[in-house]
Amino acid sequence: MIETGIPKLDEYLDGGIPTGKSLVYLIHPGVEGDVFGMQSLYHNLEKGVKGIYVTSTASPHAIRDRFEELGWDLNSHRDHLIIVDAYSALIGQDSEERYLVEDPEDTASILKTVEKALEENPRGLLVCESLSNIMDLAGEEDTLQLLQDFHKVLVLYDTVSICNFTAWPYSDETIRRIKDELFNAVVKVGGIAERVIFGQYYGVSKVDWTQTKDATMLFRVIKPGGVKAFIPKILVTGPYHAGKSTFIHSISTRAVSVNRLGTTIALDHGHIEHRGISADIFGTPGQERFDPILKLLGGEALGVFLVVDSTQPTSFPRAKTMLELTKTFGLPTVVIANKQDLSGAMKPDDLRDRMKLPRDIPILPAVATSKTGVTDAFEMLLKRIMEGL
C-alpha cells in the first residue's frame, strides 16, 4: 500500500493505493493540483519508499527548487529519488540524469526510459509530473496508448503510479477514457468559481479497490507546507449584540475586530486551526445602520454561522433577515443558540419552533464567552460545507 500523503485522502482511499494500481489527479486548469503529485512523492520518500519522478515541464534542477519552495529537500533523499528527465532534450539542454528521454515528443522514447528506470528500481512509486503536458507534446492518441503500456509495466515491477493531469479542453473521448478507463482511481482537484476561482477542493470520483466515499475536502497550498485542508471563507452574522464578535474570538486561533464602544463597526476576522483543517472566518456588524454593507461582506462565503442571543426571541426575525441581507440564504448554515448560560435562554428545539427553521438546519447550544460548544459548531459546519460541494 502506498499512501498519497494528502490530508484525509488516504482515509477516503481506504489506506492508500495498492501495489500495481494507478491514480490520477484530474486537475481543473488554474487549480494548484501539480503540488498533489509532488506531495505524494515526497511523503513516500520520507517513508523510505523509492520514488521515480517523470518530469516534463522543468529541468531536474528547477524541479528540486520547486520542491524546496514547498519545504521539501530532495537532496536528502538522493538514494531513493530517481528522476526521469523528459524535459531537457525538448529545449536542447544538457542533462546529467541517468534516465534521459531522448525524444520527449515520442511516447515510445518515454516508455523505454521509464521502463528502464522501473526495471532498475522496482517496488516503489512512479509519479508523472504532468501527463497533460506529455499529451500536448506527443498527441492524445499516443499518450492514451502509452498509459495502457505503462500499466502493464507497473504490475510487472510491483509499482504504484500517480499522475497529475490538467484537464484542458481535450476531446471528450480523451477525457472520458482518463476518467473511466485508464486509472484505478480518479481524484478530482477542482475550483469553486464565481467570477474568479476563489476556493479549491479535491475528492475521489472513482476508486476500484474500495467503496467510493462521497467526500470532498477544501484546500490551499502553503509554501512551505504543501496541500492543507482549508476553508477560504466562513461568514458569521446575526442580530445586534448576539455575541458574534465573541464567538469569532472564541473559535479562532487568532482574530481581530474593528469595534467601537462595544459594537462592531466594520468587520471581525479570525483564522481557525482545528485538527489539521484551517479556515478564515469573517463577521458582520449587527446594527441596522450597517445593512448597506452586508451584501458586500457575504460574497464568496462557503458557509454561515447565524449567531442568536437565546434570551432575545424578539431578535429572531432580524436573524433571518440578516441571512437575506448578506445574500447567504441557502448556503450551508449552522445556527448558534448563544448565551445558554443566562437564565431564560431558549433551548435549541424551542428556538427552532419559534424561528420556524427547517429540520435540516442544525441549531447548536453555545456559550461564546466560555468557548462552550464552539468546536462542535465548527465541526458541524465543516461537515455541511463538505457535503454541499
Binding site: 486548469p29 488554474g30 494548484e32 515541464t57 534542477h61 500536448d136 474568479v196 471563507k233
Partner: protein, 241 residues
C-alpha cells in the same frame, strides 16, 4: 458590467471604452512598439485602480518591472495590484524564487504552471484586495507557440479567454507578425473579440482597432517616445451640420 479604457489617448476618441470580458489580440511586426502599447494598456489600468497581470515569456519579471521604472511609470503605489507570471527566468536556468509580485513558472511549455500563476493572482486581487476590475496581458502567444503546438496553445487560450469573460476582465494577447502562418493567426482569432493591429510602412508605425467599435478604425500613425504612444494625426470629430 465594467468598461475599460485602453489609455492610448488618440485612439480613445474612436474607441472610448472596451467592454468587460473582451479579449484582444495585439499583433504587429518586431520593433513596432507593441511592447509599449501593451505596457501602456496595463499601466493605465493600474493607474485607474484596477489590477494587472502580466505573463512574460521572453523577459524576466525583474526586467519587466525595470521597464516601467526606466520609463518613469511609477509602479510603487500599484504594486499590491500587480502580478507578473515570469516564464523566462527559470527557463534560462536562473535559480530564483517567487516574490510578492512575481511568480515563476519553469518554462513557457508549462501551461499548467502558467494557469496556476494567473489564477492565484486573480484570486488574490479579487478576494483579498477586493479589486473588481482586472487586465491580463500575455506577452507573448508567439513564444508559447515556439514551445507548444497550436492545438495546445488554443486549449490554453480557450480556457483563459473564458475566464476573462466570467471575470468581466480585459485580456490582451500579443502576437508577433511574420512568425506564424495565416492559418495559425486565424485559428487564434476565433477565440478573441478584437484585434489591435500594428504595421510599419516607410519607417512609420500605424495602429488600428478592429472589433471594438462598429467598424474597424482607420490607420493611425503614431510615434513611440520612451513609454509614450503619440498618435500623430488625432481623429477630429466632424463639426455638427
Amino acid at each position: 458590467m465594467s468598461d475599460y479604457k485602453l489609455g492610448i489617448p488618440g485612439l480613445e476618441e474612436v474607441v472610448p471604452v472596451v467592454k468587460g470580458g473582451t479579449n484582444i489580440m495585439l499583433i504587429g511586426p518586431p520593433m513596432s512598439g507593441k511592447e509599449v502599447i501593451a505596457n501602456n494598456i496595463l499601466y493605465s489600468g493600474l493607474a485607474q485602480g484596477e489590477s494587472g497581470i502580466l505573463v512574460t515569456t521572453s523577459m524576466s519579471g525583474e526586467d519587466a518591472l525595470k521597464w516601467f521604472k526606466d520609463n518613469g511609470l511609477d509602479l510603487e503605489p500599484h504594486k499590491p495590484r500587480l502580478g507578473i507570471v515570469d516564464c523566462m527566468s527559470q527557463t534560462i536556468g536562473l535559480a530564483i524564487g517567487d516574490t510578492e509580485n512575481i511568480k515563476r513558472v519553469s518554462s513557457p511549455v508549462n501551461l499548467t504552471g502558467i494557469s496556476v500563476g494567473i489564477t492565484n493572482f486573480f484570486e488574490d486581487f479579487w478576494m483579498k484586495k477586493q479589486v473588481r476590475k482586472a487586465r491580463l496581458c500575455v506577452y507573448s502567444l508567439s513564444t508559447m507557440l515556439m514551445y507548444s503546438n497550436l492545438q495546445t496553445v488554443f486549449r490554453f487560450l480557450h480556457v483563459f479567454t473564458g475566464r476573462i469573460k466570467t471575470a468581466d476582465a480585459l485580456g490582451i494577447y500579443v502576437v508577433e507578425q511574420g512568425m506564424h502562418d495565416d492559418a495559425t493567426i486565424n485559428t487564434l482569432k476565433q477565440l478573441l473579440d478584437g484585434v489591435l493591429e500594428v504595421k510599419v510602412e516607410n519607417d512609420s508605425c500605424f495602429l488600428r482597432a478592429m472589433g471594438m467599435s462598429q467598424k474597424p478604425t482607420k490607420w493611425y500613425e503614431y510615434e513611440v517616445e520612451g513609454s509614450k504612444i503619440n498618435i500623430k494625426y488625432s481623429y477630429v470629430r466632424p463639426a455638427p451640420p
